[in-house]
């Protein structure tokens, strides 16, 4: 049984991608444990399996072998509905691309995960969305459509959205990949600051070695395995 201190635990994860002669053994028995309130980064060369690992831990993909536990719940063999519900409750995502819905305002985008969870009233959701957008420095742009923001602003909205349901874990896949240096540092610092304040765990995949060094724990990956 996983310890209470660990919000996520993965053991002996194997993942193959592709078919036939193009089948690749991307993850070769990866294991890790994520402690609550800690910021992790995963760094490594392109194609080493960082993003694949992140998608598996985020229950967006299924491993070929191995176990995944999130908040003491065994997710590796759970049904699609259970995994989807777990994503809504426990996990927030920030991707390289912001994935904001263009038909909705920034506040409405942030409210989308809350609407699915269904625990707050409309007013409470709106207030929380405004609060989160304020924390990322966009409190005066709650009514703007997502398409009316700059790249850095859009990524900040994505961060606010990932925090909407106060998830235990935030999984970030190259969150600064599409941003310039200034915005990269801004977004990275924001993510880490908010996570630390709220005691949330962050696992970030990044190519940027400078950003990786600024996290609490750096995990290096190569050829589908963690290396020392």
């Amino acid at each position: 049984m996983p310890e209470n201190d660990h919000i996520l635990r993965a053991t002996n994860i194997h993942r193959y991608l592709g078919q036939g002669e193009y089948r690749v053994h991307v993850l070769r028995g990866v294991s890790l444990e994520l402690k609550r309130g800690t910021i992790y980064s995963v760094a490594g060369p392109s194609g080493c399996g960082k993003s694949t690992l992140l998608y598996l831990l985020g229950l967006l993909d299924r491993q070929n072998d191995g176990e995944i536990w999130i908040a003491d719940e065994r997710m590796s063999v759970a049904s699609d509905a259970e995994r989807t519900a777990a994503r809504n409750r426990f996990i927030g995502f920030v991707f390289q691309f912001h994935f904001l819905l263009p038909e909705f305002t920034t506040a409405e985008n942030v409210m989308l995960p809350m609407r699915k969870l269904g625990k707050l009233s409309n007013k409470e959701m709106r207030d929380r969305a405004h609060e989160l957008l304020g924390e990322v420095g966009l409190g005066n742009k709650t009514h703007r459509l997502a398409t009316q923001l700059s790249g850095g602003e859009q990524q900040r909205v994505a961060i606010a959205r990932s925090l909407a349901n106060a998830p235990a874990i935030i999984l970030a896949d190259e969150p600064t990949g599409n941003l310039d240096v200034t915005n990269s540092n801004l977004v990275f610092d924001l993510l880490c600051k908010i996570a630390r304040e709220r005691g949330q765990t962050v696992l970030m995949v990044t190519h940027n070695p400078d950003l990786a060094k600024r996290t609490d724990i750096l995990l290096r990956m190569q050829d589908g395995l963690f290396i020392k």
């Binding site: 998608y55 699609d80 390289q96 691309f97 994935f99 819905l101 909705f104 609407r115 699915k116 896949d173």
Partner: protein, 416 residues
């Protein structure tokens, strides 16, 4: 579900132009379906009203005589002789020999509202202007008024004049024009060497061409004299409370009365079949509009699903289930269907009103000076049902595809 509807509405509003095309198709499809059905069933109902008002719901006519053909056989062993029936045949004796008795028997059926004896025969009308071959109809006026719309068909003269005058005649409008007679004119009716002088009491217009061209109505006793038929009648015309039951009632009556009974559905079968075919054909034709709109909707939704793969992926990553995603796209189709149905039905109401006022002169199997429509809620139900089936199938396929998208695959595809 409310949440999914909220997202569906937003997605729909973002694709207004594309959805407007499908919406227009559905509105026109439903509206035109209703209008064409109102028209075709309008003419059909008008025709039925006309024939029922002229010739009644049932006709009791020839007496049925069962005959059995048999042969004499001899038993080779015992030498005993006997007769064996070898076939059963039916013989029809023309006319109704005992009209009062049969008429009383007919009135015992609960669905029968009136019975009128009719003596019919060919004859000739002779006026100051010309001679013309006619059909003489001898009736009992009060009984005949109970089984026809004769009272409302009088265009000149009066029934009371005909009632008061034993030598009065009522002449069809087209016949009156042809032989150039009017109310009050003397005429001579003749048949087989017998002739009698009459006076025109009224001119009627049934709307049925062959009736208005040939029929002359006289009192039954006078018809008996001209047609030399003192006792029997040609047929009994009956009307029913529920005319739709005519076929079932006719079968029963035939067994009981021993006379052939012809319901109006059989009598007018040819024209009724034509109307049915016309209605089916127009329904089919207009349904293609609905079908094409459905194809348009399918195309639009399929394009939206392809364009929205990223949105689907992020919604799934946030915790929206496959069912939610499917519902969001299905609801878009449903919303267009709802709007299309409401506006389509409104278009149907307006279109039907418009058509009703279009002038159209028809003389023949019935008489009208404008389009005839029959308004029924079932036309709207059928139109909306057809549209619903098409639109929901067209929406279901793309929505199912959207629900089956794997978020990991999409997100992986967008990673640099």
């Amino acid at each position: 579900m409310e949440n999914n509807l909220y997202i569906a509405v937003r997605f729909l509003l973002a694709k207004k132009r594309a959805m407007l095309m499908s919406l227009s198709g559905i509105i026109f499809g439903i509206g035109l379906f209703v209008v064409t059905q109102a028209q075709t069933s309008g003419f059909e109902h008008f025709f039925i009203r006309t024939v029922l008002g002229t010739d009644g719901a049932l006709r009791v006519q020839d007496r049925i005589q069962e005959t059995i053909a048999s042969m004499k056989v001899v038993n080779p062993t015992t030498g005993a002789k006997s007769r064996v029936s070898i076939s059963k045949e039916r013989k029809y004796i023309e006319g109704v020999e005992f009209p009062n008795k049969i008429g009383n028997g007919l009135m015992q059926f609960e669905n029968v509202s009136g019975v009128s004896p009719v003596l019919r025969g060919n004859g000739q009308i002779d006026t100051n202007f010309r001679k013309q071959t006619i059909q003489i109809f001898g009736i009992n006026l009060d009984q005949h008024l109970a089984v026809s719309d004769l009272a409302s068909q009088i265009v000149f003269g009066s029934l009371s004049d005909f009632r008061a005058n034993p030598k009065g005649v009522m002449v069809g409008s087209m016949l009156a024009d042809r032989v150039n007679i009017t109310v009050g004119d003397p005429v001579i009716l003749s048949q087989g060497g017998r002739s009698e002088r009459f006076r025109v009491s009224a001119i009627f217009e049934s709307g049925v061409e062959h009736v208005d061209k040939e029929r002359v109505i006289v009192h039954l006793p006078e018809a008996r004299v001209i047609l030399a038929e003192p006792f029997s009648v040609t047929y009994l015309q009956a009307n029913l409370l529920d005319t739709d039951r005519a076929v079932e009632d006719a079968d029963q009556m035939q067994d009981v009365l021993g006379h052939s009974v012809e319901p109006w559905q059989e009598r007018e079968k040819i024209w009724l079949d034509v109307f049915h075919a016309l209605r089916a054909s127009s329904a089919l034709t207009v349904s293609t509009i609905i079908l094409i709109s459905g194809l348009g909707m399918f195309n639009t939704l399929a394009m939206i699903v392809m364009e929205k793969t990223k949105e689907i992926a992020i919604l799934r990553s946030m915790g929206y289930t496959r069912q939610d995603i499917g519902q969001i796209f299905l609801m878009q189709g449903g919303l267009v269907l709802l709007a299309g149905s409401i506006f389509g039905c409104a278009f149907g109401v307006f279109g039907t009103w418009l058509v009703e006022n279009i002038p159209l002169r028809i003389r023949g199997i019935f008489s009208t000076d404008h389009f005839v429509v029959y308004k029924s809620p079932w036309h709207y139900v059928a139109a909306v049902a057809a549209a619903s089936v098409v639109v929901m199938i067209a929406s279901w396929i793309p929505s199912r595809r959207a629900a089956r998208l794997e978020p990991g695959d999409i997100i992986r595809g967008t990673a640099a």
